[in-house]
């Protein structure tokens, strides 16, 4: 055990995160072998259809602030227990001439997240569901960061500051906890809370960016929320 701890603390932070994810997946598989996540034996078919969804939080962010995302998802229902999911979207930021710093930040790029949710309700076939899941996310984006020329504080020369179409990219992982409530017919409403952790990133020559499409405000980790309108098809 001590040796395992030594190995764990000696690896880098992002790799440590991968180890946690793999351990979590293995524990799910182990639990599955013990029956916790085993497909229930009943008359309900294995393939239960698709669902499409749209996120309203990103949409509201886009309308109410200077960044946000349009995001939709396609989810497969496997026996009301496992839900492989693909989330795709376009994240945008347009922060113009900050009133304190004068900085303008623009980006617009697609992103995707791929993962699986597990229905952790005891009665898997109930109309409402509680999920736990994992995601892997990736985006490749370009940023424009600039500021109106300003005088050097000592030498007083006019100074230009910024980059144009600086290529950046980011890989990240998410742990998801969510709820899905059946409203009427094929219509469901649901929310999810997400803990995001950056796996690797390239932020270009300025070494940092601000809004990352699909991830949110740049940091080693952050929290996110989605509110989804879901339609079974």
């Amino acid at each position: 055990m001590t040796r395992l701890l030594t190995i764990f603390t000696s690896i880098s932070r992002s790799k440590r995160w991968l180890v946690i994810l793999i351990t979590f997946q293995l524990s799910l598989l182990t639990s599955s072998a013990q029956g916790f996540l085993k497909f229930e034996r009943d008359s309900v078919p294995f393939f239960r259809g698709f669902a499409v969804s749209a996120d309203l939080v990103g949409l509201a962010q886009m309308q109410l602030s200077d960044y946000g995302q349009y995001e939709g998802a396609l989810r497969i229902n496997l026996h009301d227990q496992y839900f492989p999911i693909l989330e795709v979207g376009v994240g945008r930021a347009n922060h113009q001439n900050d009133e304190v710093t004068g900085i303008t930040y623009k980006t617009s790029a697609p992103y995707f997240r791929l993962g699986v949710d597990v229905n952790i309700m005891k009665n898997k076939h109930a109309p409402n569901r509680i999920y736990a899941g994992l995601r892997y996310g990736y985006t490749s984006y370009k940023v424009n960061i600039n500021r109106q020329p300003f005088p050097d504080p000592v030498w007083q020369w006019d100074t230009s500051y910024g980059v144009v179409d600086e290529p950046c990219s980011q890989h990240w992982a998410e742990i998801v906890f969510g709820i899905d409530a059946k409203i009427a017919g094929p219509l469901h409403l649901g929310w999810s809370a997400r803990y995001r952790n950056r796996l690797s990133h390239n932020d270009g020559q300025m070494e940092k960016t601000w809004y990352v499409p699909g991830y949110g405000i740049q940091d080693t980790s952050n929290l996110g929320v989605t509110f989804n309108v879901i339609i079974d098809i």
Binding site: F150, D152, W155, A181, W191, Q205, M206
Partner: protein, 161 residues
């Protein structure tokens, strides 16, 4: 279930934001006063008084370091984007005799971004330094990376005894 949905909505509305700009956000070149003892470079203390000037874009002189005495290190500002800074070092001894040297510092400038909430800064990579030698014996780059880290000695300067 519907109460949970309501909770989620309230939590979203009540969410707050923070501004995380670095507290230490001064970018300056740190000079360490050194001397050689028994072939080894060691810390030295300046007994004379040091003044440093530079020339602004309007050709007026401006004092950027005033009355440095009994110092072993000092920090000087660095221009945001000018390719070479010209600094005038004036060392006044105890007999009020001044020795003046000019130092030319070449560098590459890298715009640095933290967040839209944090003011614009430049980091620098020092590429060359040279000087006249009235009071300065030797001057060289020890660490070329100039950023928020104020603990680095970027330049070592040896004054004549």
């Amino acid at each position: 279930m519907r109460r949970l949905l309501l909770f989620a909505f309230v939590a979203f509305i009540a969410a707050c934001s923070t501004i995380d700009c670095p507290v230490q956000n001064k970018v300056a070149v740190n000079y360490a006063v050194k001397t050689i003892v028994d072939g080894v470079e060691v810390k030295d203390t300046l007994t004379d008084t040091l003044y440093v000037w530079t020339t602004r874009s309007d050709n007026d002189d401006t004092l950027i370091f005033n009355r440095g005495i009994n110092i072993s290190s000092f920090s000087l500002p660095v221009s945001y984007t000018h390719p070479e800074d010209k600094l005038v070092f004036c060392l006044v001894d105890t007999n009020k005799v001044a020795a003046i040297d000019t130092v030319w510092l070449k560098k590459e400038d890298i715009p640095h971004f933290e967040s839209v909430d944090c003011s614009a800064h430049f980091f620098h990579t020092l590429t060359a330094i040279r000087s006249t030698h009235k009071a300065i014996d030797t001057i060289f780059i020890n660490n070329p990376k100039v950023n928020y880290d104020s603990s680095l000695d970027h330049i070592h300067v040896h004054f004549k005894k």
